[in-house]
Point group: C2
Chain length 578, copies 2
């Protein structure tokens, strides 16, 4: 991880690869690196689909090592969805493989001269870029099958589906999982559209013949890793809840607290939530021969994923995440768990963000294109996106875009990006994160659900504004740092609750790099990342006016608690005062 | 004009009208009044289609008087197209009639409780609001016929077509002309969508039994008006060019100077310009029994409009304006003048802005939906808008929206609004106005073509950045003031060139109101209006970053002069430093 691979897709005679050391970016990885490169090299007022935008793909600090949970990858650019800076984060295998190949980042730059579609293959022998127009408009699953046939089974793929090729603002970038399926997505912000604009369909990574990255102090690293894993296993969320039911364990919890956005954010409880809960899902998965506990990348010890089989016992999709089940489920009034799993598969296959798509269908239902609860029409709508019909062109550009196309006022977005599965009125800490994150509405940017609802790492009343700004601030800082380590954000539950697990994480980083990073150093890194991101956004024209929720959240109370979002504007403006 | 009519469309039991004096708005009219009300009463972060937005319709200071050229009406709101403040300005009869009815403004407020469509009738006896769902989705021409049948021929109508009902961001508001045809449009910024969101299809005005507004000093007013008219008649632009050929006299001129944006702003000259020029158009109009010289409202002495007949000698549309002929013509590579006239008619009938629609079709051609030059497909595309198909929903929301739907990078917009018929690289003063006007790209906001090309009121080299900022500043100030008088902006040619005509205009205002307005006072008014507008935009989240042209104008030279837009960012930021 001591070099950056740049591919200038606009070079004369076709894309040209070049490699260089980390230079001024030395010490940065993951989100810190993607945000640094975007912030320094991309003109904030450029067109997201133009030559000046760059797509940066970066493994984290500990990716490619024996460290647990270190398989997250960061993908950054100027977002076609928000117009601001974007880091979308995914699991799966590519991060580990890319790190072992020695790359701190791949940067796609420039604009292709023609309409050819490119395939990039990287292994220990170098980088091969070739035209492959036979891949055009292939969905991700078919694409990966083709790559397996060509390059064998020991690969990891980073790819776009038809949505990315069509440069839709909801397009994701797929990363393959352990089974070499395109199920882990850098979903948010339309990063797939930027890859599509670069004309690159897939990056195939093969680390055959390469070893794990070795720590400066292997013994200390091994010991810290062991303590870190023990900490994760002993915490109830990472040791029990997530492994047993996956992220969808949250459906019943959020519904119970009245923070489960239902019917396009009209109420905080979904009467049929139990039918699509993690408990129901896990039971069904086990019964049908799928898996309720499974890792998305090697080295994961939480294993919050799973495998979802259809009624006939055949693979349908990976275990849909809570936010996906919510987006396509309660948010659209849909309680058919198989239909939701199908929607998850279709999203992954066409290459669109499940959160954005679910929110978009909610808005389309608001516009009268389907009735709330109509699962079949929801499925048809996602097919429209994959086919790129005119309706699909609308939906594939997200919730805000769909709202404008059909003249809908109730559109739950911030900075153009759809809100995830937590009502900001009933979980006000999340409202602060949605409003102020440089990423647009994003639950992962500062997951206040932990303290507001789960009471992990603190206890802040979710229905009141008090304490939410400080909470979101601290979480956003911690998250920006964790997103730079390559570690899965879910370590935060144990790390926030158990000082010894936090120390183990620090010890891993220090043993690996021979550093002496402290808690303060982690905070400084987080602040540094957020500062770069906010600076980019400011230069792109963002002000405090963009750090706001849509006004209906402050005027329409949400049942059952009948609360509005009550954090004052002037307090939102204090989130980044540190 | 001493009262404001407010219609709360969201009142219990249906829309409720109320009247009050001008209050704090006393002394304001036209654009000054619409911008004052929007700036003070509309929350800048509200949804443009929501209850908090207001649609303000205001005649100018001299509307309804015997003063020449005083028939312009201002329509303001928060724009669904730009997200900022909007004043769209139209000719036709409504301004005169509304002023004689005594209204300084009509303000539509709130959000309707149901889906009913309303018709508002105003005459000397008062205001009558009634449900009329038989008007649903009627195009403007049919609608006006229905209103004539119901209310007689002595009316003036302000209405929306299907596009406004569908709340499309390119929707205009139609004002009827002297012949009671819906040909004069407050086109820009999607004001029609806001009227649609208020559920009001048409406002019918009848001033039967009411007289012209009388000046404080009738003799002085009459004398000043006479001198004013003489000035207009003696100036070559207002006395000869515009009456003879209409605004389309500009096609040959702009093409000659290489500032005529062709094929979606790819070059500055259109080889077939002569086929669609004002000269050709006027000759054809006369030959077919139409009219090449005609007024759009009573009291107009320039008479830059006309009547366009089809091949069979039947009325097709009013004489298409230069910007319309350009948008649907050269910008789309179309040189069929009858097809362009048909597009003008369709735009008026469905109720969409001709500039936005032409630019949108240019972008759609760029996206491959049609070939440049394909007039029949262009016509079909406008029908899609009128029918509200999914493709129509895309196109009807304008050029930026269409660009995003189809992943097109080359989109000539500022603040989301399409650029008109002057290439900002070859007419750099216009570039400054496009970039910095609070309205988004708008030629009328500061018509630097006068000094850059026509050499009226000054001489500034169009190909160089020098002097453009000061020029645009002065023009934007003057325009904001003129837009408040109710006078047609075309008086500016004579007023800028002939000090005695400027004085005559001042004398008219002073004689009418018993004021002692000076040139400085006019400037102060303009600055005041711009300051209110920019203040609204700042609170809506606009910064200097939004006061920029799309980057391709600064990187791609335009033939034949091979110039880029060279006004520096820091100089653009000085436009409003006065």
């Amino acid at each position: 991880m001591d070099k950056i691979l740049r591919i200038n897709v606009g070079a004369e005679g076709g894309p040209r690869a070049s490699e260089a050391g980390m230079g001024a970016y030395a010490g940065f990885a993951g989100r810190a690196l993607t945000s640094a490169i975007v912030s320094q090299e991309v003109p904030p007022l450029c067109h997201p689909l133009g030559a000046e935008n760059k797509l940066v793909i970066a493994p984290g600090m500990l990716s490619g090592t024996a460290g647990a949970m270190s398989g997250r990858i960061s993908i950054g650019c100027k977002s076609p969805l928000t117009g601001g800076i974007k880091e979308a984060n995914a699991g799966g295998q590519p991060s580990q493989v890319l790190a072992r190949l020695g790359y701190g980042a791949i940067v796609l730059e420039g604009k292709p001269k023609g309409d050819d579609l490119y395939k990039v293959f990287i292994n220990k022998d170098g980088v091969k870029i070739s035209v492959d127009n036979s891949l055009r408009m292939l969905p991700n699953y078919d694409l990966v099958e083709k790559m397996k046939a060509e390059f064998g089974e020991k690969i990891a793929c980073i790819s776009i589906g038809p949505a990315g090729e069509m440069k839709m603002s909801a397009a994701s970038i797929a990363c393959t999982d352990i089974e070499l399926r395109p199920t882990r997505h850098a979903g948010r912000g339309g990063v797939g559209a930027v890859m599509g604009a670069k004309g690159v369909k897939v990056i195939v990574l093969d680390d055959t013949g390469l070893k794990m990255r070795t720590p400066k102090d292997p013994e200390k690293f091994k010991d810290a890793n062991k303590r870190f894993i023990e900490g994760l296993k002993q915490h109830p969320v990472t040791g029990q809840g997530l492994p047993a039911y996956g992220t969808n364990v949250l459906t019943n919890i959020l519904n119970e607290v009245g923070g489960y956005p239902t019917y396009n954010f009209k109420q905080g409880r979904f009467p049929d939530a139990a039918k699509i809960s993690g408990e129901t899902q896990a039971e069904l998965e086990t019964k049908r021969g799928g898996m309720a506990t499974h890792a998305c990348h090697r080295g994961c010890v939480i294993q919050c994923s799973g495998v979802y089989h259809d009624k006939d016992g055949h693979y349908l999709t990976k275990q849909p995440e809570y936010e996906t089940v919510w987006a396509h489920g309660g948010n659209c009034g849909i309680c058919d768990i198989d239909a939701i799993a199908m929607l998850d598969f279709l999203d992954d296959n066409y290459g669109v963000d499940t959160i954005e798509m679910g929110a978009t269908i909610g808005v389309a239902m608001e516009a009268g294109l389907a009735k709330f609860g109509d699962a079949q029409t929801a499925i048809n709508l996602v097919h429209e996106v994959g086919k790129g019909t005119h309706l699909g062109r609308i939906l594939g550009n997200g919730a805000a875009f769909t709202g404008r196309a059909f003249g809908v006022e109730r559109v739950p977005v911030v900075k153009g990006q759809a809100m995830p599965a937590y009502d900001p009125r009933a979980v006000q800490g999340m409202g602060v994160t949605y409003a102020t994150s440089p990423m647009g509405a994003d639950h992962t940017a500062g997951y206040a659900v932990a303290q507001n609802v789960l009471k992990v790492g603190g206890d802040v009343n979710p229905l009141k504004p008090e304490g939410q700004v400080e909470l979101s601030r601290n979480l956003q800082i911690a998250t920006a740092a964790i997103d730079s380590t390559g570690m899965c954000l879910f370590i935060a539950f144990a790390v926030l609750d158990q000082p010894e697990t936090f120390q183990a994480m620090l010890d891993m980083l220090n043993a690996f790099y021979g550093m002496s990073l402290t808690a303060e150093g982690v905070t400084d890194l987080g602040k540094k990342v957020l500062t770069m991101e906010r600076d980019f956004n400011a230069r792109a024209g963002f002000t405090a006016a963009q750090d706001r929720l849509p006004r209906f959240f402050t005027t329409e109370p949400v049942a059952p608690h009948n609360v509005t979002f009550d954090v004052k504007d002037e307090d939102l403006d204090k989130v980044f005062n540190w």
